[in-house]
Structure formats: structure tokens, C-alpha cells
Amino acid sequence: MVEIKGLTKTYAGGRTRAVDGLDLEVKDGEIFGFIGPNGAGKTTTIKMIAGVLRPDTGSVRIAGVDMSAEPVRAKRNLGYVPDTHDAFDKLTGIEYLGFIADVYGVDGPERKEGMEKYLRLFDLQSAARDSIKSYSHGMRQKIMLAGALLHNPPLWILDEPMTGLDPASALLLKEAMREHCRSGHSVFFSTHVLDVAERLCHRIGIILGGKLAAVGTLEELRANAAADATLEQVFFSVADKQTEGARL
């Protein structure tokens, strides 16, 4: 579903290496968790996958379509929820969904049914006609999630999606992610909350200082640590090895 090769991005005229030679693959029907500490380069990577940032070097392919060669066609295949929700706050919830449906060409019965379904799922019916400006953080998150699901994209890209959600909504979101994968679609999401990744993901990538430190299923990752290690223990053992490696 997603193939990333040699992805690099620097900021501040090359002084900050936010992402450094990243290779990654997300398979069809997979929930891929992207974990790492603050400032590790998760958001930068996600923005490059979503076609928001242009990589310095490297390539991103979504469902076989190269992002830099055919951006519009590649973007059609994904639904992106950023970590901040500043866009569209002058629109009402329902107008936002209508706009997304128009832009992605969602027509016919799916249009109405989809809107109804996701407004109901995220409990946004009563707020649908208020402007997004009046929404709480969690409600904004949910309307953006609804927008990213509405056109049923093969790939869902979520940046820190659990932040600000109440327990019930977080559960709903996890359910929605699992359901999304059942039809062969994929989810790529970032988090710094390890428990979430541990229970939800088919595979996990750990990013440290812009480099992919480890990738695999939880079992594969445990090879780095004890056999019954939690993701937290795995994470710290990977991080420790990195710092040792740096010292050597």
C-alpha cells in the first residue's frame, strides 16, 4: 500500500535533519503504528506521505502511484488527519463533509449514507450544523476523521489520532481502524502512546532522530529484548542500543 524509499527531509536550510534516509513498507490490510519520542520526525514523515511536504530525496508510492510524479492521483487514495486542525473552521461540520465529498467526488447514495454514518458514529449529529470553530479539540478531531473516512480511501494516515479523544471516542476510533483494515485497506498512524500501538498494530516502526531504528511485528521486535517484553521495554532497549551505537 505504501512504499517509502530513502526518504529524507531537512529543515532550516539543512541544519535540522528531521527525517534521514527512511525506508518503509506498509502492506495491504495492515495497521501500521509509527512510534517515537517528541521531535523524532513522525509528523514530518507523515506530511511527506500525505503529499503536504516535498521530500528532499527519496520517494513515496501510495497504492503503486508515485506521489511526486502524480500527486493528485496519489492523494485520491488517502485520507489524512493532521495533528492540528486549523483548517475549515469557518465552515460547519456538515459543510465540511459536503466539501470533502465534492472534492473527492463522492456521489450517489454513498454521499448521504456516508455522512449520516460517520456523524452518527462519532456522535456529531447535534453539532453538525455549528461552525467547526465552536467545536472542542476532540470534536474537531472526530469531524476530521469523519472527513478522512467519507471517501473510503485505501489508505488512512493519522497523526497522533488519540490525542484529545475521550475514552469512548478513542475506542470508537480503534474500532473504526480495525474495520477499515478488514476490507484490505491500510492504516498508517503515529503515536507516542505505546499501549495503543501495542494492542492495535499489526506492525510497528520505531523512529529515533529521523532514522528508522526498528520495524516489525511485536514478536519480531521482542527479539531485541526479552521474549515477554512489553512494547515499552522493547522501545527503551532499541533506544538504548541506538545511544550505545552512537557512543561507539
Partner: protein, 557 residues
């Protein structure tokens, strides 16, 4: 903390916020250069215009004054300068209202301030001071060339300059205090309304109506001075009419006397003017101490609709262009600041044209004389087209096309749209504003006692120019949008791109019309109009292609 200290700390913070906003990111030398160039261009253009317009007026007034029998008291030239002061005051009222609404009443940071243990009167006063400084700069920018022209053509004693400085410093206070006194209760009441964007725009239009009323009064007085029996009265040694016409707005008479009168008269007038200014200021402060937060936070509390039993879903699918177009219009109208800034011009100028065309104004007399003696048709066509082109060139919506998306621009980038598609719907929205302004102005021009055929031809030309002006004014923002704003004001009004866009459009206007005028030397007027329109459309097409290219580069991270 003492109230005074608190005020100064807040003022310092406000100044820092204003100075630093927009300077995020690396400084670009080219940008700084463009800023400098734009400022110089504006100063030169306005100065030139003022010298050009006021010079003959002042000379005429001086000639009449020299014939007057009665010595002492205000002269005709003094009165004319007084009217210039009045016009600046009226401009301060309109622009000050807009600034006040954006910075004081619809600012996003009010909520933050409200959380601190600060006196609300002080928060208001610090922001009010910022508005004052802005209007002061603006009025100095307008007054300085007028004063220079006056000094050159009429001659002034040395004491004129300190007196003028005193007048200039006080000038913006009265209109601003008045605007604040009106705006405070209005925002408290209307801030909770659902359609407050439109209500805000309507309030701006009201301010415009005030300006137009002031201008009517001004024109009527001016024509009384010059077209009435001024000469006769002066020769008869009667100068009372000067005082009485200025006295229609007593503070104006006081201010003019403070600048020109001799000795005690000036002191007394200055004292009166200071008294009325201080009184208005104290009133505004007292009201703000009681209810500033109530007014300024009213809009932060989103007015909600009662939950509908069934959510109405827009079933019909729109094309991408239409979806973007509708979204753009909605986001313009939902913000009072956006609505006010993008629509005021479209309404102000037609109203001003209409008012100047109908009876009671000195312009009407001028138009009648023009009609009587006949103006060369190409001249008339060019002037009217220039006015329409001017109306179309002030389009802050187009010149902040991507800035207004703010940090949400990333989500715009992620949409599966080509740069051309991103622009098409948006530009269509801005063209509709420009065309609306031209058509409304055209309707207003029909009130003028001029050849209707020429007016129609000018409207045709103006429409063409409007397309080019709108496209070209979007160029700076497609290249480098300012997305790091924290209030709608910063996104639009304080966005340098909006000034830059306007200047681009203004720079193009004389080129297009100049070429058209040249055509009239060897071809009929209709052909010249067609030439200008074709040229404009070509320019619009070219600017769009440029914009698409710039947008592609800009959106591409």
C-alpha cells in the same frame, strides 16, 4: 500592580505583538525591498495627488482672501485647510472603526487576556492605543503633503508647525473614541448572533454611510464657499459665513481656530477641542471598564443552533470548482473581519459615486457644467474607466487567497486537487466581488448627468480591467502566503500581501488605460474600449497562468 503600570506593560506587549507578527521565518531581502518600494510609491503617489488637487484650490482661496476688506479672523484658505482636517478625521472614523473592530473587538487574544488578573479597562486602553498609533500614522501620512502644499501656496508663520503638530496628535482621538463608544454596545448585542459576520460587515457599511454623510456636508459647505457669494461677501467685508460653515461641526471650528487664529482666540479654541476630546475618551474608557469583556468575548461564545431533529444533508454533488467557490464565499462571510475588509470597498465607492452625483453636492454642479460645455469623450471614458478600475483593484480577498487558510494550508495541500483547480473556484469568488463592485459603481454612475453611452462603455472597460486587477493582485499571495497568523486581522488587513496586491493592480491600471487612450487618437472610442478589454483579458489570463505556476511551487512544500 498600579493601573498605570499595568497599562504600560500591556501597551508594550501589544506593540511587540504587532511588530513581531508576520516577521516569523527567515527575512527575505527581496521582500524587504518590495516593502520599501511600496511605501515610497504610496507616499509619492498621495503627495503628488494632494499637491495637484490642493495647490490650485489654495491659490484661488488666497486670491480671494487678498481681496477681502475685513482683516483678522479665519480666511478662506484657513477654512479650506480646516476641511482637509475634517476629511482626515472622517477617514479616521471609517478606517478607525475597521481597525477597532479587528484589534479590539474581534481579536482572538481577548480570551487569553481575560484569563489574567488584569483590569479590562486597561486591556481595552492598550489596544485602543495601538489603534490610535495606527490612525496617527495614517493621518500624518495624509496631512503632511497637505500642510506642505498650504505652506507653499499660502505661506505660514513659524508658529503654524507646532500648532499643526498639536492638532495632528489629537485628531484621531475623537473619531476613535466615538467609534469605540458606538462599537462597545453593538458588539455586546450583535456578537452573539449567528450571522455576525454579515452583521459586522453591515456595521462597517454604517460607518461608510457616516463618511458619505460627512462628505455630503463637506461638499455642500465647500460649494457654498466657492460657488456661492463668497467673493461678494468678502468684498463686503463679511467673513461670518466662514465661521458658520465650519461651525456646523463645532470641534472642527475649534481645531481650525487652534491652528490659525491669533493669540487668546487660538488658546480658547484649543482648550475647547482638548476638553471635548478628553471627555469622549473618558466616556469610552468608563464604558470599557464596565463592559469591554462582555462586548469582546460575546463573539467567542459560538452561537449554536438548536439541535435539529434531523440533520439536513446536502445531497446533490457539486463540481470541484463550485465546491471551492462556495467554501471560499462562506469563509469570507463567516468572519466579520474578512467580510468587512473584502466587501466594504465594493459598497463604499458606489455609494460615494452616487452621493457625489446627486443634488446637494458640489460635484453635481461640476458634472452639470461638464455636461454643458462638453468634455472630450475619450477623456471622460478614461476617467470613468479609471474610477471603475480603481474600485476593482481594491480586493483584499484576492490578495490574501492562501494566507487566509492559515496553518490549515497543510490540509489544503493534502487535497487531491491540481493547483489550477485550487485556484479556479477561489479566483471565481474574488472575480464575483470585483465584478459586483464595478456593476454597482456603474449603476451609481448612471445617476450622473453624463452621456449614458460613455458610462456604459466605461463599465464594459471596467469589467475587463476588474478581471486583470483581481488576478494580478493574487500574485504575491500565491507566491508566499502568510499563514502564521493568530487573528483574522493579521490574515487580511495587516497582511502585507494585501497592500502589495493592491499596488500591483494599481500599477497595471495606468498601463492599460494609457494604451487605450493612445488608441483613441486614431480609432473610435468603442474600438479603444475593446482594445483595453482584450488587453485586460490577456493580462488576466497571463496572471492566472503565473498564479497557477506560483501556487504549484508554493503548495509543493
Amino acid at each position: 500592580m498600579s493601573a498605570g503600570r499595568e497599562y504600560f506593560l500591556l501597551l508594550l506587549l501589544q506593540i511587540k505583538l504587532r511588530v513581531r507578527s508576520g516577521s516569523a521565518g527567515k527575512p527575505r531581502p527581496l521582500h524587504t525591498f518590495a516593502v520599501g518600494l511600496a511605501v515610497v510609491y504610496m507616499v509619492v503617489a498621495v503627495s503628488f495627488l494632494e499637491v495637484f488637487m490642493l495647490g490650485p484650490l489654495f491659490t484661488a482661496a488666497k486670491t480671494l482672501d487678498d481681496m477681502a476688506l475685513q482683516a483678522g479672523g479665519l480666511t478662506l484658505a484657513n477654512a479650506l485647510f480646516g476641511y482637509a482636517l475634517f476629511l482626515v478625521m472622517a477617514m479616521c472614523l471609517v478606517l478607525g472603526t475597521v481597525t477597532l473592530l479587528s484589534i479590539v473587538f474581534f481579536a482572538k487574544d481577548t480570551e487569553v487576556f481575560a484569563a489574567f488578573p488584569l483590569r479590562q479597562g486597561n486591556v481595552f486602553a492598550s489596544k485602543f492605543t495601538i489603534c490610535y498609533l495606527a490612525e496617527l500614522g495614517f493621518s500624518l501620512f495624509l496631512l503632511a503633503p497637505a500642510a506642505g502644499t498650504y505652506a507653499h501656496y499660502v505661506g505660514v508663520p513659524g508658529s503654524f508647525w507646532p500648532r499643526l503638530a498639536f492638532a495632528a496628535l489629537l485628531l484621531p482621538v475623537l473619531p476613535l473614541a466615538f467609534a469605540a463608544l458606538v462599537a462597545l454596545p453593538l458588539t455586546a448585542v450583535f456578537g452573539r448572533m449567528r450571522r455576525r459576520g454579515l452583521v459586522g460587515a453591515a456595521a462597517g457599511m454604517l460607518a461608510v454611510a457616516a463618511l458619505v454623510a460627512g462628505q455630503m456636508w463637506f461638499s455642500a459647505s465647500l460649494s457654498r464657499l466657492f460657488l456661492g457669494d463668497a467673493l461678494l461677501e468678502l468684498l463686503n467685508g463679511n467673513k461670518g459665513f466662514i465661521t458658520s460653515s465650519l461651525g456646523a461641526f463645532p470641534p472642527l471650528l475649534w481645531l481650525t481656530r487652534a491652528v490659525f487664529d491669533g493669540g487668546l482666540g487660538a488658546l480658547g479654541a484649543a482648550a475647547l477641542y482638548v476638553a471635548v476630546t478628553v471627555a469622549a475618551l473618558l466616556c469610552a474608557l468608563a464604558v470599557s471598564r464596565a463592559g469591554y469583556y462582555k462586548a469582546a468575548l460575546a463573539h467567542a461564545e459560538a452561537a449554536k443552533r438548536r439541535a435539529a431533529a434531523a440533520v439536513f444533508l446536502p445531497a446533490a454533488k457539486r463540481s470541484v470548482t463550485k465546491a471551492v467557490f462556495v467554501k471560499e464565499w462562506k469563509s469570507l462571510l463567516r468572519s466579520p473581519v474578512f467580510a468587512l475588509n473584502s466587501l466594504t470597498g465594493v459598497v463604499v465607492f458606489p455609494v460615494m459615486i452616487a452621493v457625489s452625483a446627486v443634488g446637494g453636492s458640489s460635484y453635481a454642479v461640476v458634472f452639470e457644467q461638464l455636461a454643458q460645455y462638453g468634455v472630450p469623450e475619450p477623456m471622460l471614458w478614461m476617467t470613468l474607466s479609471a474610477v471603475l478600475g480603481f474600485v476593482a483593484s481594491i480586493n483584499p480577498a484576492a490578495s490574501t487567497v492562501f494566507s487566509r487558510e492559515g496553518r490549515g494550508l497543510d490540509q489544503i495541500r493534502a487535497l487531491p486537487l491540481t493547483p489550477a483547480e485550487q485556484l479556479r473556484g477561489r479566483m471565481l469568488c474574488f472575480h464575483s466581488i470585483g465584478v459586483g463592485g464595478v456593476l454597482l459603481s456603474f449603476a451609481a454612475m448612471l445617476l450622473m448627468p453624463l452621456d449614458k453611452g460613455i458610462i456604459a462603455l466605461s463599465a464594459f472597460t471596467g469589467l475587463g480591467i476588474s478581471f486583470a486587477a483581481t488576478e494580478i493582485s493574487a500574485v504575491p499571495d500565491c507566491a508566499a502566503p502568510k499563514t502564521r497568523w493568530s487573528s483574522d486581522t493579521e490574515a487580511m488587513k495587516q497582511n502585507f500581501n494585501s497592500l502589495l496586491g493592491m499596488i500591483y493592480a494599481f500599477a497595471m491600471l495606468p498601463l492599460l488605460l494609457g494604451l487605450g487612450y493612445t488608441v483613441t487618437f486614431f480609432a473610435p472610442l468603442e474600438l479603444a474600449a475593446c482594445a483595453v478589454v482584450l488587453l485586460s483579458l490577456a493580462a488576466a489570463r497571463g496572471a492566472r497562468a503565473w498564479n497557477v505556476w506560483l501556487t504549484a511551487k508554493m503548495l509543493d512544500g
